[in-house]
């Protein structure tokens, strides 16, 4: 464990945490929002940060570790600037999720779970992100969803990201609403 960086919460953040705690009857539920706060602040929740969260909430470290590792959205190590979460769960898998993942891996020269040397990109293979209707899909750094992925689309996204341009948010109406929207 490196001691070079001491992670702490500021007074304001601690006050915020108190407010979060007040919302729940038990001690455990605030783990998720507080881990999230920590990740926003430090960019990751490395073991040291998990420990900080555990101490702040007076919870067992093992429990915080368990929660942090359950979600791919929490970064247990320092990640690239853009984290490409490619869904390889059932629906996406059937629609070619793995093809997209492998295409990305090839293009960036890294494997899922790794980060490019320039620190720009990380790839993760993740479970269902609740966008099965637009499979195959990926999410970028816990933010924009990129739907109906094709190799061409991936090319454009990567080119844009290299220029620090995030893809636009795409609205995709449900099929049953598609007619309505075309009508109106």
């Amino acid at each position: 464990m490196s001691n070079e960086q001491q992670y702490t919460f500021s007074k304001e953040e601690l006050a915020e945490i108190e407010k979060i705690k007040a919302k729940y009857p038990d001690k455990k539920p605030p783990v998720m929002p507080v881990l999230w706060m920590a990740q926003e602040k430090f960019g990751h929740v490395e073991p040291e940060v998990q420990r900080l969260v555990a101490e702040t909430l007076d919870l067992p470290e093992a429990h915080v570790y368990g929660v942090a590792t359950f979600y791919t959205q929490y970064y247990k190590e320092k990640m690239g600037k853009y984290v490409l979460d490619v869904c390889t769960c059932l629906s996406c898998q059937i629609c070619g999720g793995y093809d997209i993942l492998h295409y990305l891996e090839e293009k960036l020269g890294i494997k899922a779970g790794e980060t490019t040397e320039d620190g720009k990109f990380s790839i993760q293979s993740v479970e269902c992100l609740g966008a099965c209707g637009y499979a195959p899909m990926m999410q970028i750094t816990n933010d924009v969803y990129c739907n109906h992925l094709t190799k061409e689309k991936v090319d454009t996204i990567l080119d844009d990201l290299k220029k620090d341009k995030l893809p636009e948010f795409e609205q995709i109406p449900f099929p049953q609403h598609q007619n309505e929207s075309s009508k109106s």
């Binding site: 464990m1 420990r51 067992p60 093992a62 915080v64 570790y65």
Partner: protein
């Protein structure tokens, strides 16, 4: 009384028992993994499925609805239910695999699912032979697997802590180990990490699973995922025999099983006693097998012209009597021991009393504040209360030191207690005195003695101990000495290898049998040699004698200790163990 119908048979019950526990209690075997009677119930393994229905009450009359044949209408739950999460209720109807094809299928399918990523490495797994997963797969599982893909690989041989090793591939994520650290030992050191088919229990990064009760997770792990780093690969379960006994490493007296093979103690595990230790014991108690096997005193030793030589038993008895009769009885000091049993202390006291020596003195071994209020007591010895009830004279270490060093004392007779190692007395204090030491292991004190009588350890004799709560419990011999034989002593258990081994088999030898006798037996021999035997033929005789002559023990017998899982001695419950 409320009734419940299981596979068309009627049972009565009281209260609201957990259905699974009720099935087991009435003797119906039922598969399960995650349920444990002393832990919370997460119902996560789904192995305990049953069909359950309840009768339908008529809202107006309050009676149960009947069908056209006059039978109760039963409304079944639409799906199979986990028996561990159901409470028995009046009129409930339950179908197990004995009467329901659906339940049978449920058991089979859950097992097939659990085994999907399991490495199936029973031949090299320590748990084989005592593995609920193995047993239940054999009884309730599918014949084969339809899973033809590459199995998920997870970390193997992870040292979770100094005493526990994890093979994550074998883990079925029942969470028993996690619940143990949360609910019983309360160190909260383990959690299930990751997700889906990748999860397994772990400590927080950079932390060790050094819980003082960590090895209990090895006992309750229903598969071979958690193994003991010490016992791993030492013996197969079916090669050992198992004998109920008592932990003597501290004052709590946890009930244990001693596992032996060829008269070596291979491991110690806790034995259920709801009044003492439930299903648990501290880790250090399990290490006591070393004391039983190693560094033993075998054959009597006497000092002749400052050199120690082995001696015959006959000579030892003569020397013993010579020492005692060679001096005035006021010059003899008898020291009892809270480490030794009630019987041994009693026999020595009786012998010395008879020649006019006053009561044995003893000093407890209590480290204030070292206990945890659970199964680790401040008292480091198993029988402090026993010594008190016997009427031995309790002294603090300084007092005992004074008593021993007194110039008037010429002969010191000591029951096993490493007083020199404990720094109660020094070699200097014992100089110019004849020291007789009864003990099973070599130690600082035995080294200085002029006569060492090798006695049986708690794994070799029948003897009783009174724990810190005043409960008297007894041991049963697990390990043969040179003079005992498990096929003749019907109290001893006989394992497969013991039963079928002969001297010429390579799995059996005489090497591990120690040349020692119970202390009371040596005392009896000494009494007999001096022409006044006590007529103690076995430990039972000694105990019967003391229960007749000492009020505190009256009415107590070995049978009662066995039947009642130990007997609380009236008046001693409240006796707080404190250093004098």
């Amino acid at each position: 009384m409320p009734e419940i119908f299981i596979d068309d048979k009627r049972y009565e019950f009281e209260g609201s028992p957990v259905l699974l526990q009720f099935l087991l209690d009435v003797g119906l075997d039922h598969p399960f993994f995650c349920y444990h009677p002393s832990l919370s119930i997460p119902a996560n393994c789904r192995q305990c499925y049953v069909e359950v229905g309840t009768p339908v009450p008529n809202r107006e009359t309050g009676d149960y609805e009947l069908d056209e044949n006059g039978e109760r209408v039963i409304r079944f739950f639409p799906k199979l239910m986990p028996a561990c999460k159901m409470e028995a209720s009046d009129g409930m109807v339950v179908k197990t695999h004995r009467s329901s094809e659906l339940v049978k299928r449920g058991h089979k399918d859950v097992l097939e699912f659990i085994l999907m990523n399991h490495p199936l490495d029973c031949p090299i797994c320590d748990q084989a032979g005592e593995c609920p997963l193995q047993i239940q797969t054999y009884k309730y599982g599918p014949e084969g697997s339809r899973f033809e893909h590459k199995k998920v690989h997870k970390p193997k041989r992870i040292k979770l802590g100094p005493r526990v090793i994890l093979d994550a591939e074998r883990c079925i994520n029942c969470t028993r180990c996690v619940r143990f650290t949360e609910e019983i030992s309360q160190t909260h050191q383990l959690a299930i990490i990751s997700r889906g088919d990748k999860n397994y229990p772990a400590t927080a990064p950079g932390r060790e699973f050094d819980d003082p009760y960590s090895l209990n997770t090895v006992d309750i792990c229903p598969v071979g995922a958690l193994t003991s780093s010490d016992f791993r690969f030492k013996a197969r379960v079916w090669e050992m025999n198992q004998t109920p006994s008592i932990d003597v490493t501290n004052g709590k007296g946890a009930n244990i099983d001693i596992w032996t093979r060829d008269n070596l103690v291979m491991r110690i595990t806790p034995r259920f006693n709801p009044n003492v230790n439930d299903y648990w014991m501290p880790d250090f108690g399990r290490d006591d097998y070393r004391r039983m096997n190693e560094n033993r005193i075998s054959r009597p030793e006497v000092k002749v012209d400052d050199t120690r030589i082995k001696s015959s038993w006959h000579n030892a008895v003569l020397t013993f009597n010579e020492y005692l009769s060679g001096v005035n009885n006021k010059e003899i000091l008898g020291i009892g021991s809270a480490f030794s049993s009630v019987e041994d202390n009693y026999a020595l006291n009786k012998l010395l009393n008879r020649i006019g020596v006053s009561e044995l003195v003893f000093t407890p071994n209590i480290e204030e504040g070292s206990g945890d209020g659970f199964l680790i007591s401040d008292d480091k010895y198993p029988n402090t209360n026993g010594c008190r009830l016997l009427g031995l004279k309790e002294m603090n270490p300084a007092g005992l030191n004074k008593a021993i060093s007194a110039a008037s004392v010429k002969v010191v007779v000591m029951m096993e207690d490493d007083l020199v190692g404990r720094s109660v007395v020094t070699a200097e204090d014992l100089k110019d005195k004849k020291v007789i030491y009864f003990g099973s292991n070599n130690n600082e004190t035995s080294k200085l003695a002029d006569l060492v009588v090798p006695i049986t350890c708690s794994a070799e004799h029948t003897a009783s101990y009174v724990n810190v709560d005043g409960r008297i419990q007894r041991t049963i011999p697990a390990k043969e000495t040179l003079y005992t034989n498990r096929k003749l002593n019907l109290e001893m258990s006989v394992g497969r290898l013991d039963r079928y081994a002969t001297k010429y088999d390579n799995w059996s030898s005489d090497d591990n049998r120690i040349d020692c006798v119970p202390a009371w037996e040596f005392i009896e021999n000494a009494a007999e040699q001096s022409g006044q035997p006590f007529n103690f033929a076995d430990a039972r005789d000694v105990f019967e004698d003391l229960s007749k002559s000492i009020d505190a023990f009256s009415g107590i017998t070995y049978e009662r200790m066995d039947d009642e899982l130990g007997v609380v001695i009236a008046g001693s419950e409240k006796q707080k163990v404190t250093s004098a």
